[in-house]
């Protein structure tokens, strides 16, 4: 082992020990209330069969209704936070799917351990970048209703069935008054080590950026930043980048929303749905060009309505297919780690060792 790597590991270990004393707060892991399964079930008309049907699961077992699908993580990262996250994952019994990240600080050991947990348990991450971010389910979204293109002035169009089977439930859900995330004002941004955890998400999105009230100086030095970058690239691709890899100069916070592995998995799982939507998009182009040739006279415009409707329906099916694929992967990941039950000490040791080893290896790349 190289001396520099040993030093880095010692520094990291020291940070882990010292951090709790110097940090203003350990991270808080708070349930996003609307994401409790009992609050999500109304989206499925309170019908477990609709829930199982949407996720195409043959196991008729709901997650515990009091458990949370999403957590918001707030504060300054410190020692023991990865352990706390593991506790939350285990408590969720596989139902925890999304982490909203609104924390800052630097503690590479804890960051790495949390990142390993996030990737191993196939969690999605969302970076909070300012107050006002609202929760919305990660498995479906509301589709705009079809705009009638017929020439029936003065009367309502014939009722159009929703594009997604969950549209009606989501419409009611959107009326909830508690959707705004409980973000502490002083930690309303994902900063520094938060991005290491965010990058580990299998599907990682970020809220629209707001400018922080005050620019906080980065809490990590250049060596730590590089160690983070290398570690994150390994977590993402399963291989170490070359020391002079041009990708390393790009900030991980600008990464694509889903990983290369997830892209492969989604394309495999939803190949049929994607093919249909591509085909419909092609048909629409032909119909559109024909309408354009007729200068968009009323009958040709009306003729586009069925295709646009079919395209949106196909889009909603892709969305569902992606939700199912992510769900299956996450459930499988949980079952792999906790076949009959979760052995917390064993899991803790396994993931800590894995993260520490990766950090050590990252430190060796010059």
């Amino acid at each position: 082992m190289r001396l520099s790597a040993v030093i880095l590991l010692i520094v990291a270990a020291l940070q882990a020990v010292i951090a709790p004393r110097s940090a203003t707060a350990a991270l808080s892991f708070q349930c996003v209330e609307p994401s409790r399964y009992r609050n999500l079930l109304p989206i499925f008309n309170d019908d477990p069969s609709a829930y199982f049907g949407y996720f195409r699961t043959t196991q008729r077992q709901l997650p515990p209704l009091e458990s949370c699908r999403s957590l918001i993580i707030n504060g300054v990262i410190g020692s023991g936070d990865a352990e706390a996250l593991l506790g939350k994952i285990i408590a969720g019994q596989g139902g925890l799917a999304v982490l909203y990240l609104a924390f800052d600080g630097t503690n590479v050991v804890e960051e790495a351990r949390m990142a390993v947990l996030v990737r191993t348990f196939y969690l999605k991450t969302k970076a909070v970048r300012g107050a006002g971010y609202a929760y919305f389910p990660d498995f479906a979204s509301r589709w705009n209703a079809a705009v009638p293109l017929g020439r029936t002035a003065g009367s309502s169009p014939p009722p159009v069935a929703s594009f997604s089977p969950l549209d009606e439930g989501l419409r009611h859900f959107a009326a909830r008054t508690d959707l705004r995330l409980p973000v502490a004002k002083e930690h309303a941004f994902c900063l520094d080590g938060c991005w290491t955890v965010w990058f580990a998400g299998v599907n990682r999105t970020r809220s629209a950026a707001q400018a922080p009230a005050a620019k906080t100086p980065a809490s990590a030095d250049a060596a730590t930043t590089r160690q983070r970058e290398l570690f994150s690239r390994y977590i993402d691709s399963g291989r170490w980048p070359a020391a002079n890899d041009s990708a390393l100069v790009q900030s991980i916070s600008g990464a694509p929303f889903w990983t290369a592995a997830a892209d492969h998995m989604l394309r495999q799982s939803c190949d049929a749905e994607l093919a249909v939507v591509q085909s419909l998009a092609g048909n629409l182009t032909q119909t559109f060009d024909a309408a354009a040739a007729k200068k968009f006279d009323p009958p040709s415009v009306e003729g586009m309505a069925p295709l646009l409707e079919r395209l949106n329906r196909a889009g909603a099916r892709i969305e569902q297919c992606y939700a199912v694929a992510y769900e299956e992967q996450r459930n499988a990941s949980f079952r792999r780690q906790c076949p009959a039950h979760c052995d917390r000490p064993v899991l803790s040791e396994r993931f800590n060792k894995m993260a520490d080893k990766l950090l050590l290896d990252a430190g060796q790349i010059k």
Partner: protein, 371 residues
């Protein structure tokens, strides 16, 4: 006999039902609609303005004239009708649009202004707001898309992107018209004005009239008479079957928000025939494509591979270009119609008495159509 009873009851009670006791109506020019600003859309070139509307050479509004007025407040007396006549006269036929911000008031006043709107060939827009500020948009053109499709050209004389930018810059310092987010912008008796417009936009909030006569029997008969009249009025204005149905179905204690069809059916047919496209239908097509872009873009692309959204965006832009031409055609037809109507009704200035007689006559005509 029953008909006569209804008519009497209507005249005695129905016309005086205040469904919403709001402050008096304020009728004012919308500053951003003064022609001196609107000319900026054409780069300040009034010849292009004339060409866009296909007007006879030299037929121009004075720069200070207003194209749009805001009707703000309750419909509480016949004075309100007078105020509308005055602003029409003050602008010598160049007033084209009434923006409506009213919770309602007297049915008689709403019907009166609605009849004026139709006969002066005015547009009626239920006011809407964006971030607490009333949203005013010139009524006769749509802006080009931000990215022009290479396949289409901007119609001759239509305002260009530069023109829209110049217009927006010219009105940037005007005081904004503030609006609360929870206001009912056009409700109750205001919907009669909205229905009277020849080009209608925005949401109307309808409900049955209410009132209180000496006895419940008289109240009931009076209100049924009002119902009969208003259903006929809405039919006459071609507000659409949903409008009439929801008017009858909605209790006076609440309101039902309804989009109103942009044009009366026969007007829509003629415009589509003359312009070779239905401007309103094209607007809906563009909205549908935009919605698809938004749905695919904001939802699927967060989770995994999607379709080529750029292609859909280009489609929306091409529809917009066609809309620009269609709206220009509609604008020219409406402009000619409105100026002709004004010349017929206010040849030597707007005569209050003559116009009040017109309202009574049209009201009686509608009364005769009660089924």
């Amino acid at each position: 006999m029953r008909r006569i009873a209804y008519v009497l009851a209507t005249l005695a009670i129905g016309w005086f039902f205040a469904v919403n006791h709001a402050a008096a109506l304020d009728v004012s020019c919308i500053e951003a609609s003064r022609y001196k600003y609107l000319f900026q859309l054409f780069g300040g070139d009034t010849r292009k303005f004339i060409a866009y509307f296909n007007l006879p050479a030299g037929q121009l509004p004075r720069p200070e004239y207003c194209r749009a007025a805001l009707l703000d407040g309750g419909l509480s007396s016949d004075e309100d009708v007078t105020k509308v006549i005055k602003i029409i006269g003050d602008n010598h036929g160049w007033l084209a649009t009434l923006y409506l911000r009213s919770g309602g008031g007297l049915v008689r006043v709403g019907v009166g202004i609605g009849i004026l709107a139709r006969n002066f060939w005015l547009k009626t827009y239920a006011a809407s707001q964006r971030r607490g500020i009333m949203d005013y948009q010139p009524d006769f053109a749509v802006p080009p898309p931000d990215k022009l499709p290479i396949t289409d050209l901007i119609p001759d004389n239509a305002p260009t992107l530069a023109g829209w930018q110049a217009y927006r810059a010219s009105i940037a310092k005007l005081p904004p018209i503030k609006m609360g987010g929870s206001e009912m912008f056009c409700a109750s008796a205001c919907t009669q004005i909205h229905a009277g417009g020849i080009d209608r936009k925005g949401i109307s909030r309808v409900h049955r009239a209410s009132g209180n006569a000496k006895t419940l029997l008289a109240t009931n008969e009076g209100l049924i008479g009002t119902d009969d009249f208003l259903v006929s009025f809405y039919r006459f204005m071609d507000a659409g079957p949903d409008f009439m149905r929801m008017y009858l179905l909605t209790t006076s204690a609440t309101t039902t928000p309804l989009p109103i069809s942009r044009f009366a059916r026969h007007v829509s047919d003629v415009l589509a025939q003359k312009c070779g496209a239905d401007a309103d239908q094209l607007a809906r097509l563009e909205a549908q494509i935009d919605a698809s872009v938004a749905d695919f873009g904001s939802q699927i692309t967060f989770y995994g591979p999607s379709i080529n959204l750029e292609h859909l965006r280009t489609m929306a832009a091409r529809v917009r270009m066609r809309r620009m031409a269609a709206e220009q055609c509609v604008a020219a037809i409406n402009e000619a119609e409105r100026l002709t109507a004004y010349a017929g009704l206010c040849q030597n200035g707007c005569d209050q008495k003559k116009l009040n007689s017109l309202i009574v006559q049209k009201r009686n005509d509608i009364q005769k159509t009660i089924r």
